[in-house]
């Protein structure tokens, strides 16, 4: 009888221990836009499971980023949700304010790799003095161009424009020599969401020396000549000279459509980020990858406007990372899992599958010497020094939407540049309050 009891107890304990489970959620699905993520997890999760004696489940989804955000928000609000969330860095402020994320300073104490992370990267993951996100990757942004199309149009390669005017001139040549090819894709409109603000709006605005947020005064910039020039640049491309396809920007599924068109070599230039090269165009991507990507696709730094005093080149960086759900029941276990995922070996392996700009020094050094990914090495070396980050405030997504709307109204011809900026200024003022906005010359 006693033996039976002991057996039951042992079994119960075992069930308790072996029943331990850690869940991870990422917006990745096999065969989708982040297919490499799934491959990577499938490679390393079994090892970690065995070592820790637990169950790790990766929840896969293949949906729009905004819908992914909604999914996480609702999961957590409902009291559940995955333990480890692989999310976009700029969601941190609003998530923290809503009480969805668990501060991970204690978990980080258990992770030796944390000391190698660059300070700017650590800052991206923190909010109001506490850390909430371990950056997994960051990126830079540039102009991609199809070398074959350029050759056909007689444009000399390698190509490096030095001003907005250079871009326009090149686009005109493409339009003339290659009818049926869209010269340039510069994201615009609300349909592409944050991709418009980051790859489109900011890349232009920064080139004119402008910004959405004035760090010095702590206010949002609602009007400036940089802003006006930005919208005029958009207007020239989409309305005046028709060097881009305005209808495409506002059509449903616009982003994927542009990927498709680029793959079909119907777009000559596309302003995008690291991820575009390493994930979307990657030969290992079944949907949009180019088998001869390295030979066929070139990149150029995005130039500034070209007036005296303007930045030479610009870039803006985003980043994703691992955050921990406030509802997480076993933070210690989560720490153990994260620690192992962040060992140098899995990280190098992930880099091999899906190169990225590294947020930590040990990885950066290893990648460049061990794996010698030319693209990452070159782009990082060239652009990291120019790059900047988004203003990380809970209200940012709303302002970002206004910026997207601004570009949409101009490129579709719905409003003149001045009227659109008026509306933008009005809305942003309404969102953040009169005392938090500023106009710049």
């Amino acid at each position: 009888m006693k033996r039976l009891l002991v057996l039951v107890l042992v079994l119960a304990m075992a069930a308790f221990i072996f029943g331990e489970k850690v869940t991870i959620i990422a917006n990745a699905i096999k065969g989708g836009k982040n297919t490499q993520v799934v491959d990577w997890f499938e490679k390393y999760i079994p090892e970690i499971e065995k070592e820790l004696g637990i169950d790790i489940e990766l929840i896969q989804t293949g949906i729009r980023d905004e819908d992914f955000k909604a999914r996480i928000v609702l999961d957590i609000k409902g009291g559940g949700g995955a333990d480890i969330l692989w999310i976009d860095g700029f969601w941190v402020p609003e998530f923290v304010e809503a009480g969805y994320l668990r501060p991970i300073d204690d978990i980080l104490a258990e992770i030796p790799a944390w000391k190698y992370y660059y300070d700017s990267m650590k800052a991206m993951g923190s909010y109001k003095g506490k850390t909430y996100l371990i950056p997994a990757s960051t990126d830079v942004r540039m102009i991609y161009y199809n070398k074959e199309l350029f050759k056909k149009a007689g444009i000399p390669i390698p190509w490096q424009p030095r001003s907005w005017e250079d871009i326009i001139k090149t686009a005109r040549i493409i339009k003339e020599k290659l009818p049926g090819v869209i010269p340039i894709q510069l994201n615009a409109g609300t349909e592409m969401g944050e991709a418009t603000t980051m790859q489109g709006f900011f890349m232009v605005l920064l080139g004119a020396g402008g910004n959405l947020y004035d760090w010095e005064t702590g206010k949002w910039i609602i009007k400036s000549s940089a802003l006006r020039d930005t919208l005029n640049f958009y207007k020239r491309i989409y309305v005046d000279e028709k060097l881009g396809d305005a209808a495409l920007q506002v059509s449903a599924g616009a982003r994927e459509k542009t990927f498709e068109l680029f793959r079909q070599e119907k777009i000559a230039m596309y302003v995008e980020g690291t991820w575009f090269y390493t994930s979307v165009l990657n030969p290992n991507n079944p949907s949009w990858g180019f088998p001869d990507r390295d030979e066929r696709i070139g990149w150029a730094a995005m130039p500034g406007r070209g007036k005296p005093g303007d930045p030479e080149f610009v870039s803006i960086s985003g980043g994703t990372g691992f955050a921990v759900n406030i509802n997480c029941k076993n933070p210690k276990l989560v720490a153990e899992v994260l620690k192992r995922l962040l060992y140098i070996e899995p990280q190098l392996s992930y880099f091999e599958m899906k190169p990225f700009v590294s947020p930590r020094s040990d990885l950066a050094d290893s990648c460049w010497t061990v794996n010698k990914d030319k693209f990452i090495a070159e782009t990082s070396r060239a652009l990291v020094k120019y790059t900047t980050f988004r203003p990380a405030f809970p209200v940012y997504p709303e302002i970002s939407f206004q910026a997207q709307l601004l570009t949409e109204r101009v490129v579709t011809g719905q409003m003149s540049v001045d009227k659109a900026i008026e509306e933008f200024a009005k809305e942003v003022t309404r969102i953040v309050g009169k005392e938090n906005v500023i106009e710049k010359p």
């Binding site: 293949g62 609702l74 609000k77 599924g253 949907s287």
Partner: protein, 273 residues
């Protein structure tokens, strides 16, 4: 005498032809494409195949969604039919002040508070009850929405069943519950079955409520699954989606045909003027 009638008939046909073509064109695609060897967005047929259907059954999400749709629809049918049955019995057999007004208000409510205008409070309600991303939330919400119409139609139907049998049984000494179950139910089975079928068709077809309340791909019913297939990332598998859509549509058509064959059109709720 004959000429005007023939003339009017010819005119009718001439006017009806384009209208019918208008109605039928998008539908033809649904019945042709799933069987086509190289399915495309226009109506084309170049060889018969069942391959597209095979791909449907190989798709885990698609099969899962079928299961989810079944669970949800059947649950709603059971829930609504039993509750509406009891309530309609009372409404029919037990007059009270304001009965008709109440019914009318309920049906009006369900027409007005329908669709998108209601989705925010429905969502918040389910949020508070912890039912977001749970099938139970969808089941209860669908049931609440369909209930007034079911009640209305059932009561109407019950009214047409003579009370003599029940009265006789009551006089004989049966209890009201016995009367309801032993006497009334068998008499009214026809109407109950029709309501069950209508409720099934409605829940099976519903898109908005599971779309708003469910977030996990594994919980999606077919309606939401089809939407994700044709609207999401990547190149849609036209053959598979059309085959899947056809499979999804057939039960609904079948249900309505059955209702019409056996019970006549009069249940298209509201044709009372």
């Amino acid at each position: 005498m004959k000429d005007p009638r023939r003339f009017s008939r010819i005119v009718s046909y001439i006017l009806l032809a384009p209208i019918l073509a208008f109605f039928i064109s998008p539908i033809v695609w649904l019945f042709v494409t799933p069987f086509s060897v190289r399915p495309s967005l226009f109506i084309s047929f170049d060889g018969f195949t069942l391959n597209n259907f095979v791909r449907v059954f190989q798709n885990k999400t698609a099969i899962n969604a079928f299961r989810n749709s079944l669970i949800i629809s059947v649950s709603v049918v059971v829930l609504v039919t039993t509750c509406a049955l009891f309530a309609a019995y009372v409404f029919s057999r037990h007059d009270f002040r304001g009965r008709n007004v109440l019914l009318y208000v309920l049906v009006l409510f369900s027409s007005v508070v329908s669709g998108a205008a209601a989705m925010v409070p429905i969502f918040v309600l389910n949020l508070r009850l912890g039912l977001v991303n749970k099938e139970l939330g969808v089941i209860l919400t669908l049931s609440g929405g369909i209930m007034p119409t079911a009640l209305f139609i059932l009561k109407d139907f019950f009214d047409s069943i003579p009370r003599t049998y029940e009265e006789a049984a009551l006089v004989d000494g049966s209890s009201p519950m016995q009367v309801m179950f032993r006497i009334f139910l068998p008499l009214s089975s026809k109407g109950i079955i029709v309501i069950a079928m209508l409720v099934f068709a409605q829940s099976w077809s519903n898109f908005l409520i599971p779309f708003v309340l469910l977030r996990s791909t594994s919980k999606y019913p077919v309606s939401v699954a089809i939407y994700t297939f044709f609207s999401e990332v990547g190149v849609p598998d036209i053959g598979m989606i059309s085959a899947y859509s056809l499979l999804y549509t057939l039960p609904v058509i079948f249900t309505y045909v059955l209702i019409e064959r056996k019970f006549g059109f009069s249940f298209y709720g509201g044709i009372k003027g």
